[in-house]
Each structure stands twice: as structure tokens, then as C-alpha cells.
Amino acid sequence: MDYGDTEEVQQVHAAIQREKQEPRVGLEPLSIWLIAIYAIAIFCGGAYLGRFSGNFNGESLDPGSVPEKKVGAAGPGGSQQTAELSPADRGKKIFSANCATCHQANGLGVAGQYPPLVGSEYVINGSRRPAMIVLKGLEGPLTVKGSHFGTAVMQPWDKTLTDAKIADVLTYIRSDWGNNAAPVTAEQVAALRKELAGHPGSWHEADLQAVPADANLPGGEQSAEPKPGAPPQGSAPPSTPGAQPPKP
């Protein structure tokens, strides 16, 4: 390229000639306000991530994933056994995790301290009384199967266990160890929970005695008396919580 060319270029391009030099960069420091904005954004973003992450699990489609989902649905696809656990089997797990410390794994309790569940009149009759006790707890003294329990205290479980878990555990204690009472469904527990929503503290023996022994939970089946002809134990109750027990 010879020099004449550039001169020509130079003449034509007035715009180029007059323009300012290429941009440069200043070195002003960050303002404190900006750092505050960063902090807020990082905090909000992090909080959002923590709140709605669903534990980064590929299967939790719902952001506020409820822990109860874990109970039945373990593996994807084939693992049918875990998904198909009967309510009583699920109840057994919940029982051993939460209740067996006091009532013992065999359901016999501890003499003088923790009442038994096996054959207990509070367990094997109507479903209302046991559900009341599990939901709101109980404070002694109390008489079960003729034995006196002066200081028995049971904590309320309504904050800790979901309706489905309470129903499962009730179904379990009412059907194992020779007990033979009708299963309880989550809806029934939910209804009772709603009914008792305003109730402040634990029950006393008098409260429970006020409820007829064979009173059942609302929304359930009518015939919940123990059926003499039914098989004693071992055979799992009907696999679905809502199924009607066979009519005598």
C-alpha cells in the first residue's frame, strides 16, 4: 500500500479523523452500596436454592418436597416391594422408630410405667380413642387392663407425624400381637385432627372415659367391632387403607 492511498483514505473519512480515541477504563473502587446489593442477592439466591431445591433429587418434582414421600417410594421402576408395603407393615416401621422405646417392640409396655397395647381396651375397641391419644398425647394416672399407671405421660404426635403415618401406626397396633381391630385411614385421622385442632393439651383419663369405648373415627366404616371369626394374626389386613373390612 503506497502512501498516496492512505492520504486519500484520510481525506474521505472525516468521521474517522474527528472521532475520539478508543475507550479506556477507569479504576474507581466498588461502592459499599453495591457490595450490599451483592450480599442481598447472594443471600436471596442461596435461600431460594435451599428452600426449593427438593434435595437435588431427580425424583422430587415438587420443590417443597414432603418427607413422607420417602416412606413408600424408594426405588424407581422395578422395586415393587417397597412401594407395595401394606399399611400395617409401614406402621410397624413407624412404631419401632417412635413408639417402641416406651411401649416396647412386643407392645407389652413396661409394668407400672408404660401401659401395654396388647389387648388394651383403649386400642382394640373403637378407633376414636387411640387416635385421640396418638394425636394429642396423654397424661396419667391411667388404668389399663386393670393395672394402674400413675405417672404415664405420652407426648402428642400431631406435630411430628403425618395423618398417613398415624393411620398406619394405628392400623399396625390394632392388628398385631393378637389385636384384631379394623384399620384406620389417613382421612379419618385428618378429620379427627381437624376436629381437635383447637384442643390445647394432652388428654386425661376422664376425657377418654367420656368417649364411648367403641366410638369410631368419623368418615370410616360402621362395623368396627373385633370380629371373632377373623383369623387371629399374621395375615396382613386388607392392603389398602380405605378398603371395607369384610362384613360378618
Binding site: G58, E59, L61, V71, A73, P76, G77, A164, T240, G242
Partner: protein
């Protein structure tokens, strides 16, 4: 910035990181799902669509239906999709494993179509009539409709009202011929006529075919506002042929009334593309229960032995 190397590395690093996080890892998590089945290996869901329906998907895509229609139901806590009877449960990744391209949609200028095939009257016949609006979408009915349908097609065809009609499930190509001679009984009982999406479409003429039946789809595609004055959908008349009746009228000809009626001796028949498109629409059905999704309707009458958690 002085060095070129950190710049280039950073540029590649950031995009690689986002690709790993939003494409690669999720693909490990939900990119290799199998259809679910029960212990006997029957009742498989989902199933691949029929050839006609797959071709219909191409028509659906080519004409940009997915810009106005979504194919996903959101959970009850997040939106009112389920209240609108667009489905019984939220959609899950497993619902889409055979879809290609998958058309989740980004806008709803038209109603959601995730379950439009399930809402067809042919399926309703299998379900016990259910008066209660809330229970109309319960898993009991869906389980009932699907279990026999997938397991034993003869049982479904034995259903009295629709011997010819559309297909118990997705696999079967919905023959548009069927509803043209469709039984009048189906007209009586479209989906629950309560508030909701369906209602708006029903404020239409008395002579309209049962809603979401194949005949209804054809008429709706041909002339949306002939069926529903409030519809904002463009007409897809180019998918239909107008021709002279030769001999006797084609059995798949559209029954048109009002200003759309064609003159004596003429008839409107769906092209093959239109038939495929309708077959595709009729195949859209996510009502089958999925293990990983809790049904949002209370599990009071759960499907026998399945997925009530």
C-alpha cells in the same frame, strides 16, 4: 484484563459448568426412564404412539400448535390446572419418554392438551358415571378406565355404546369415521359440566358432536368459531378437502351447519394429515397413575392395590 488464557478458560469454564448442571446431570437423573408396569408386566405406561398419531405430531409441530397449547399439567399447589380438569395429577418426566419432539408449550392461548385424548367421550363410557365434580377426576375412574383398556382390549370394545369408536388407548389410531355415525348416547354425557375449561366449549350449538370426540376435533379444526364463538384459534381449513360427492357421501365427511354448511352435492373430508392430527390429539392422555406422582385428589377410593401413597 491482561492475560488471554484466563479469559478463554473462564469463557469455556462457565458455559461448560452450566451445560453440566442443566443438561448433563439432569440427563443422568431423568434422561433414561423406562415405562412403568405392574408385577405381571402388564398395564404398561406409557406406550409409544401409533404411526398415525406420530405422523399427527408432525402436523401438530408443523402448524405451530404448540405455541398456543401446552401439554403439561402443573401441580395443584402451583396452579389451577387440575381445578380446570386438565388432568388428575401433575405431569411427570415419565409421561413424555416416547415424545419426540416433546412439546411442553410456553403459552396458553388455548387450553392445555395433556389429557385431551382422555377427555374424549369414548373413554368416558368406560368409566362409571360420576356426578360429583371433584370425584369425577379421581384415580378410581382413571384406573378403572385404563386397567381394562390396556390389559384386555376386548373388554373395552364390548362396551355397548361404542363398538366402532375410538380406541381405548393411545395405541390405536382413532378413526375419524367412527363418531360420524357416533351413537347419540355419547352426546348426553360429556365430561362433567361444571365450571372449568370444558364448560366454555360447551356453550355451543346443540347439534355439535360430543366434545373432544374425533368428529368434534375435525369440526373444531375446520371451523373453531362454528363450535365455540369465543375460540381464538385459527381455522385449519387447508387440512380439509372440499370435493363433489361421488356416488354416496364419504363416511368421514364433516357434518357442518350454519354458515359453514356446504352446498348440496359437495362435502368436506379430512385430509390424511387432518386424520393423523386428530389421532395424535386423541392419543394425548396422562391419566394413568404414576408411582412417582401423588395424585392430588384424596386417595379415599384408591385404585386397587396401586400407587396410593
Amino acid at each position: 484484563m491482561k492475560g488471554i488464557t484466563p479469559l478463554i478458560l473462564g469463557i469455556f469454564g462457565t458455559v461448560a459448568f452450566s451445560w453440566l448442571g442443566l443438561a448433563y446431570v439432569p440427563n443422568l437423573q431423568i434422561g433414561h426412564l423406562d415405562p412403568q408396569s405392574d408385577e405381571e408386566g402388564t398395564d404398561i405406561y406409557p406406550m409409544p404412539k401409533s404411526g398415525m398419531a406420530e405422523r399427527g405430531r408432525k402436523v401438530y409441530v408443523a402448524n405451530g400448535c404448540f405455541y398456543c397449547h401446552s401439554e403439561q399439567v402443573r401441580a395443584d399447589y402451583a396452579a389451577s390446572d387440575i381445578d380446570r380438569k386438565w388432568g388428575d395429577r401433575r405431569s411427570a418426566p415419565r409421561d413424555y419418554i416416547f415424545d419426540r419432539p416433546v412439546e411442553l408449550g410456553k403459552m396458553r392461548m388455548g387450553p392445555d392438551l395433556a389429557n385431551v385424548g382422555k377427555r374424549a367421550p369414548a373413554d368416558d363410557q368406560n368409566a362409571p358415571p360420576n356426578a360429583s365434580p371433584a370425584a369425577g377426576a379421581s384415580p378410581a375412574t382413571t384406573g378403572a378406565t385404563n386397567a381394562p383398556a390396556a390389559a384386555s382390549p376386548p373388554a373395552a370394545t364390548a362396551s355397548p355404546a361404542a363398538p366402532t369408536a375410538v380406541a381405548p388407548t393411545a395405541q390405536q389410531s382413532a378413526s375419524p369415521a367412527a363418531p360420524a355415525g357416533g351413537s347419540p348416547t355419547t352426546a348426553q354425557q360429556p365430561i362433567s359440566p361444571v365450571a372449568g375449561a370444558a364448560t366454555s366449549l360447551e356453550g355451543s350449538r346443540s347439534d355439535s358432536p360430543p366434545i373432544y370426540s374425533a368428529a368434534w376435533h375435525h369440526r373444531h379444526l375446520y371451523s373453531p368459531r362454528n363450535l365455540n364463538i369465543d375460540s381464538g384459534m385459527p381455522a385449519y381449513k387447508f387440512l380439509y378437502d372440499k370435493r363433489r360427492v361421488g356416488g354416496q357421501a364419504a363416511e368421514d365427511a364433516l357434518t357442518l351447519t350454519g354458515d359453514e354448511a356446504v352446498g348440496e352435492g359437495w362435502e368436506i373430508v379430512p385430509s390424511y394429515d387432518a386424520k393423523c392430527l386428530v389421532a395424535y390429539l386423541m392419543s394425548l392422555d396422562q391419566s394413568h397413575a404414576l408411582k412417582e406422582v401423588k395424585s392430588t385428589t384424596p386417595p379415599s377410593p384408591p385404585a386397587p392395590g396401586k400407587s396410593a401413597k
